[in-house]
Symmetry: C2
Subunit: 353 residues, 2 copies
């Protein structure tokens, strides 16, 4: 099944409204899940509704929550997400960072008491579309990653995104988990009965493994980017720790390592961090954009190992997917469609897909 972007968005919105979400929360969440869906980031698209549904049933998601500004300065804003989904407070926070950066040159925004906010890249793209450099990070829900030399999960996939405006409509847009791969890729190998490449996973004793079942079923771990100490996984581990310091410690959200997190009544509390910087602080913005565009074009022009696989720049794969999916629609696999149909029926909202 393929859904048009409009229908995809509308279906998300109706289900959220059916759950009793505020209009602003439903609109922001639908827009940000649509960004992921159309960009080919299917792990962060409409499939997230199944996750949100179980959190909602656990009492871990207050759909009536309204983000509230706790404090602000000309260069910053701190928002309390009120225990609702992260998309609304997240987009408010990045919007404030952008507006303040336009005025004072650079600004930061922080969100505490929040939850999943979708794909990080949505927020940095907001900044790039406003002509600014953007950074976004978030702390994670699930603990799945062992630090280098460790045999115990202490971190999440802890994503980081950076964007910069370049050629019109083609920002540089890096959006990455700080693990070698996301859990979904390990689950896919498991489903296909294929081994993982060396470097993706560790068994529950912290030893390198290629068996996806070690992570999926036997308490093993994902590796930080790098994959092994020999291949510098302390860099991915360090980046993951940085993401937690920016997202949780700075916002005053509960750190992922806090043992009290597991028993917190509202579920694990998530924090987000956003930064926007106006290149005009240092240069004529048009010259900056021209240099970024030329730099990206030079990277794309790199002689490839295999002419069938050209060198890309961060943001290119998502743009290619978006172009394709705007025409062909966004694919929704049958299992997911059935589950979403069930969710829609349960709250008696129309099935649009």
């Amino acid at each position: 099944m393929h859904a048009s972007p409009l229908t995809y968005r509308r279906q998300i919105e109706t289900i959220l409204l059916g759950w009793g979400a505020r209009i602003e929360a439903a609109a922001a969440t639908a827009e940000i899940l649509l960004y992921a869906g159309i960009s080919g980031i299917d792990s962060h698209g409409i499939s997230m509704l199944t996750e949100y549904d179980s959190r909602r049933r656990n009492g871990w998601l207050d759909l009536k929550a309204k983000p509230r500004v706790i404090s602000e300065t000309p260069a910053s804003v701190l928002i309390d997400g009120g225990g609702g989904l992260g998309h609304w407070p997240g987009s408010l926070a990045m919007g404030e960072a952008i507006a303040r950066a336009k005025s004072v040159g650079l600004a930061a925004a922080s969100v505490r008491n929040s939850a999943h906010f979708g794909a990080c890249g949505y927020y940095t793209k907001m900044a790039a579309e406003a002509g600014l450099i953007g950074i976004a990070t978030t702390s994670a829900m699930m603990i799945r990653v062992a630090p280098t030399f460790g045999a115990e999960a202490k971190l999440g996939t802890d994503p980081f995104s950076f964007a910069a405006p370049g050629e019109e409509g083609k920002p540089f847009l890096l959006d990455m988990a700080t693990t070698t791969v996301a859990f979904g890729k390990v689950r896919n190998k498991r489903n296909e009965n294929l081994p993982c490449p060396p470097g993706w996973v560790l068994d529950s004793a912290g030893r390198p493994s290629t068996d996806p079942a070690d992570v999926a079923e036997r308490g093993g771990f994902l590796t930080p980017l790098g994959g092994s100490a020999e291949n510098a996984s302390y860099k991915g581990y360090g980046l993951a720790a940085m993401v937690n310091i920016l997202s949780a410690c700075l916002a005053g959200a509960m750190p992922i390592t806090d043992p009290a997190r597991a028993t917190r009544p509202g579920g694990p509390e998530i924090g987000h961090f956003f930064l926007a910087l106006d290149p005009k602080l240092f240069r004529d913005p048009a010259e900056f954009r021209a240099d970024v565009a030329a730099f990206c074009d030079s990277l794309r022009a790199t002689r490839p190992l295999d002419p069938a696989t050209p060198v890309l720049v961060a943001g290119d794969p998502e743009r290619a997917a978006a172009e394709r999916r705007a025409k062909e629609g966004i694919p929704i696999p049958p299992g997911l469609a059935a589950r979403l149909q069930e969710i829609a029926r349960e709250v008696d909202v129309p099935w649009l897909l």
Copy 2:
């Protein structure tokens, strides 16, 4: 041979002064190379003098250069390094970012027309010691890294550093090249006639290799962090591109991919980027530091795979080295000592080591 920190620093300073460097340039460079030397980052310590010597002889280093502020706002400063070494303008720039962040909450500084500035971590440590979060990046001199899917070098080791204050004297301090490993590690394997682990290097056609000679002698490449497309080297590649956008494009320094760079009379031009953020924008700074300290301690307490190899936090290895070397002195291998002695003799400055 082991040098006391004071002698190590003094020897660097006398040689730089012997080359005709300004007093401020000699002092800043000596301090920052000493930071690397005492912290165990030997690739960025006194050994750099041999590199600086050849650049100086090429006419690529103006030791009389004086950094000059080109533009400023309450939240930013742009400095022209004047074609000299990067340590003086770099430490001035981070100093300005810190002072401005103390006043307006966060600030950025940028340096163009600069050269090698030592270890990135020195600058973010400055921020952490002032109670602030710090970020530092620099563009690189040498092009050694092929983008993912590429068979041509387009990027450098492109380092990134992030620091945050936590427990007093123990900041979180990440300082990393965005490659899997630095070229020095490949050279060491070559010298020992050992293969590289899979994922470190590519041959000159862009194919995975384990032969260090492929890079050291036959035009091959270092890999971005991740090591292969399958193991997400597009993340390391994306981080390297980010470092270039921040360091070169934002400062108005010549991008590493610019073909004119090779024939520029002053040699490849380097740019740096610095950011400082005061946690008081969002929280009581003491509470922030306590959370960072607790987070780091929880990571250190991770059950290890091997009890003899405990889990560390970014900054721990450098602090352990500094503690050891403050007592035992900083080791200087005989070949390097001989080369340095020759350099000192050439400009007729006393040999102190």
